[in-house]
């Protein structure tokens, strides 16, 4: 019975029911063999519960059977044997299903009758109603349910109705919470608001629009509650508190079997198996309904051990081109497994970053900028893999390096800051602790020295009152402060390359400028290279020496920043620059690029950009376009760059 309260606590506050359309939902449910099996089994049990007492009318009142044949094992006369008073176990099991299922039905009815309306009211009306209902739920949750039921049963001895109704009342708050949290989002939806405005009555709106949407969640809960009610019913029957003998019940049969457990252990099995199977059927049915109502089209993929493709070319690093490069990426290709086969998200990405240089990695979202940045650190998200290519940092190949080795590169040689400073720090540790941990990891100093260094780092990122900030938790910081802290952590290892993934996107405009200033100053002080991932040309113009433009997994243009601004040599770069608000004339509509970045896996053949390109010709669609070098230190993946030149 220990399952009672647990099962009754809402399994999750997350409403299971997303959009459910009844016929599609049923079809989806019936496609699951396990759901069909559970439904069939439960139908049989309910059928037996209805029919058996009529077919076997004498069993319920039978005080004793054949006293010369007590505690027998299974035989042809008694398929499941006889009990301690010589009665047929199978007969009692069949007839006993009635009282068991009636008990479940009683509790379930009360739970639904209380939980659904109260939950709907709390979710739909909110405010005071919600608070009162919430308080009642808190109260009910902190009650020892079983004891309350025992108190009730001590006043109404062997009244199953009283026991199961009490159980229903105590379990109702669990369902209520689920209904409430399922109702909340529905209430906010436009069509509900529209229905309200158009003067439809609340009961009509709830009945017609809200109920169908939460039905999935309620069915899931009802199924799980049935399992729990059965557990309690059989437990109380086992304690002989619900059903007066000689009437059979599954729990009572186990109690009877317990008295003869040494002489005939067999007797505990038939009723026990019946109870366990029925509970299991209710529970699995609930799971199946939940799966059918939520769109879980992707099963959680367990993260594989990252296998690294050995670098494609085993030849030594091409010394000529990489001589001064701090970081050199060559032919980097990352792919993700999918049901349809491997899907490449970046393809043949190559660029270099010199020591102390700032390089902007530019493009719309979904072009593969972040994947590229993370792949440098050997942290391809999810279960993606580096399929080919090399990442050489300071003459050292990083692709294929063991995790242990890589973790020494991360933070110490190459550090990362992200676009979500607020969630990039661990919420349960103090700022000072998190910085000190990084310092200790990279420099192996004492705790005390690390803490002092942490405060120094905070000063270095221009945070006033570092002592106070060090004692704070992340949620006590503003976005700008949090980004400064994140930068401080990145500086802890004194890295030679900082990867900044959209470091200012989530921040206010004024704070953005401050953070960029800070990065620029730090770079000057520390002689550190920066790879700045951004979609903002203003940022590129502000601090980047060179820009690498990415589109749909490929690099489309590479050059120093200034020449790119003066004369883009790829239509995508040109279009991006034209749609940048900072450079657009004020009296005209901002030009936009028609269409969207194609998703990985559906990249067009030929030039990835040709469907959205105004320069596109037949040649663009036929074969992959290679990077061309129209001038010294200029590269573009466009065969029409001369036409771009002509338009200027």
């Amino acid at each position: 019975m220990s399952a009672t309260e647990v099962a009754f606590a809402p399994v999750s506050d997350d409403p299971a029911g997303a959009v459910t359309e009844a016929p599609r939902f049923l079809r989806r449910l019936l496609r699951k063999p396990i759901a069909v099996a559970c439904l069939a089994y439960l139908a049989v049990v309910v059928g037996v519960a209805i029919v058996a007492p009529f077919v076997l009318p004498d069993v319920a009142g039978e005080q004793a059977g054949d006293l010369l044949a007590v505690r027998q094992g299974p035989s042809w006369n008694h398929l499941l044997g006889t009990d301690t008073l010589g009665r047929d176990v199978l007969d009692r099991l069949l007839v006993g299903s009635r009282v068991t299922m009636v008990g479940v039905a009683e509790a379930l009815f009360v739970v639904l009758a209380l939980g659904v309306p109260l939950g709907l009211a709390a979710g739909f009306f909110g405010g005071r109603v919600d608070r009162v209902v919430g308080w009642l739920a808190d109260l009910a949750f902190s009650m020892p349910a079983i004891i309350i039921i025992l108190v009730v049963l001590s006043v109404f001895p062997q009244s199953m109705l009283a026991g199961m109704v009490t159980l229903g009342v105590l379990a109702a708050p669990g369902l209520m919470r689920v209904v409430r949290s399922a109702t909340l989002p529905v209430r906010e939806e436009l069509y509900i608001a529209a229905a309200r405005v158009s003067g439809l009555s609340r009961t009509y709106i709830i009945g017609r629009h809200v109920l169908p949407r939460i039905a999935g969640a309620v069915i899931v809960q009802a199924s799980l509650l049935s399992a729990a009610a059965l557990l309690v019913q059989s437990g109380l029957a086992f304690l002989n508190l619900l059903v007066a003998p000689p009437a059979p019940s599954w729990g009572g049969m186990i109690a009877d079997a317990a008295t003869a457990i040494v002489l005939q252990p067999w007797l505990i099995w038939p009723p026990g198996v019946a109870i366990a199977l029925t509970i299991l059927a209710f529970g699995l049915l609930g799971d199946a309904v939940r799966d059918a109502t939520t769109e879980r089209w992707s099963a959680p993929v367990r993260r594989k051990k990252q296998r690294r493709a050995p670098s494609a070319a085993s030849a030594a690093v091409r010394e000529t081109t990489h001589a001064q490069a701090l970081l050199s990426i060559d032919g980097l290709t990352v792919a993700f497994p999918s049901p349809a086969g491997r899907i490449r998200v970046i393809e043949d990405v190559s660029f270099q970053i010199g020591a102390g240089e700032t390089v902007g990695l530019v493009g719309e979202s979904g072009c593969g900028k972040t994947v590229t940045a993370m792949a440098i650190l050997g942290l391809v998200p999810g279960n993606g893999e580096i399929e080919a290519g090399r990442v050489v940092f300071d003459s050292r190949e990083l692709v294929g390096l063991a995790e242990r080795e890589l973790s020494r590169v991360r933070g110490k040689e190459i550090a990362l800051i992200s676009q979500e400073p607020m969630i990039s720090l661990n919420p349960v540790f103090r700022i000072g602790w998190q910085l000190a941990e990084a310092v200790q990891r990279h420099h192996g100093v004492s705790r005390r020295a690390a803490r002092a260094r942490a405060r120094e780092l905070l000063r270095q990122v221009r945070l006033p009152q570092p002592e106070i900030v060090a004692r704070r938790y992340p949620h006590q910081l503003s976005g700008g402060m949090a980004q400064r802290v994140a930068i401080a952590r990145a500086l802890a290892g004194e890295p030679r390359l900082l990867i900044a993934d959209e470091p200012t996107t989530a921040l206010d405009v004024t704070v953005q400028a401050e953070i960029l200033d800070l990065l620029r100053e730090l770079q000057r002080e520390q002689k550190m290279a920066i790879l700045l991932v951004t979609h903002d040309w203003g940022v590129v113009a502000d601090i980047c020496d060179r820009a690498v433009v990415m589109y749909a997994g490929q690099i489309v243009e590479r050059a120093a920043s200034l020449p790119i601004f003066r004369q883009p040599l790829h239509p995508y770069t040109e279009a991006l620059l034209a749609s940048n608000p900072q450079h657009a004339p004020e009296d005209r509509l901002l030009p936009t690029i028609p269409g969207m970045v194609p998703k990985p896996g559906v990249w067009p053949t030929g030039c990835h950009f040709h469907p959205r390109c105004t320069y596109a010709t037949a040649a663009c669609r036929q074969r992959p376009i290679l990077l061309e070098q129209p001038a010294a230190d200029r590269e573009t993946r466009c065969i029409h760059y001369d036409r771009l030149l002509a338009t200027r």
């Binding site: 309260e5 304690l239 729990g251 252990p265 973790s407 990084a438 290892g493």
Partner: protein, 348 residues
Amino acid sequence: MVFQVGSGSTAGPGAASRRAGPAAVGGVLELLRHPLLHVVVRRLLLAVPLLFVVSALSFVLVSLTPGDAAHEILGANAPPSAYDNLRHELGLDLPLYEQYSRWIRHAVSGDLGASLFTGEKVTHAIDARLPVTLSLIGLSLAIVFVVGVGLGVLSAVRGGAVGRFVDALSLIGFALPTFWLGLILIVVFAVNLRWFPAVGYVPLAESPSKWIRSLFLPVLALGIHSLAGIAKQTREAMLDALASEYVRMARANGVSARSILFRHALKNAAIRVVTVLGVLTVSLLGGTVIVETVFALPGLGGLAVSNKIQHDLPMVQGIAVYFSVIVVVVNLVVDVAYTWLDPRVRTH
């Protein structure tokens, strides 16, 4: 659970004391503003109506049913005068609210009355049985927590076989009723293998080894469901934490794998596990009723369902109050624990 506990002050840590003026007053104010105190006060405020409802319930129910305790004690054939005398003696002739306020007055001073049938003081009868129940719950909790969290972390990191084991365990814990599981354990380990005693209890003071042996099977029967629950909860929380942005960023900045697992992820996961632990303890408490009956342990739960007290309201009520107090204490500990673990609750 309500997570907003702070008083709404967004001022820095030093602000409160600066504003408070004289040091002594400031100290008290500081203490009153402490979020932990908020949590404790809130939980205690909820405990008052809880104890009120639980204790009033039986009084109300009695008034709904025909007959009274005097009938029960004397039987149907007693002379009316004896019946009236007993009614007066037991205070049953008073109006219901009078009876209840009398019970409350005594209860507040620690007197829960005496059994209607044996005359034994309720507190005395319960205190004698409390150690059994507390040993059962304490031992179960310790095992559930240690093994459950261990399995959860292991299955989050390794998945595979450990994960399937946890899944199987939770299926067993879900489907097998405690009383049936208990009987199966008795058949296998006590009757057939004779590794453990089938029934009975040996106090810790008498023999620690026998104490453990007498509680081994009951703890197993009682705890398996909770253990699976904790393991699953821990696994989910760990997987969530390991997939979070702060772990990604910590890893990207070179924090060691061990620290990510046992500090960064585990402390975040612990918050969720601790809140579940409260619900599980309450359910363990309910489970003792069954387990103590199956294994014939002389504890509080067994007493609650023994037919000796079927109509003995002071006893039933006393047990209900004890159980409620245990629940209140457990919830209090849980609240304090997650307030301590989660700075978002602690510092607002």
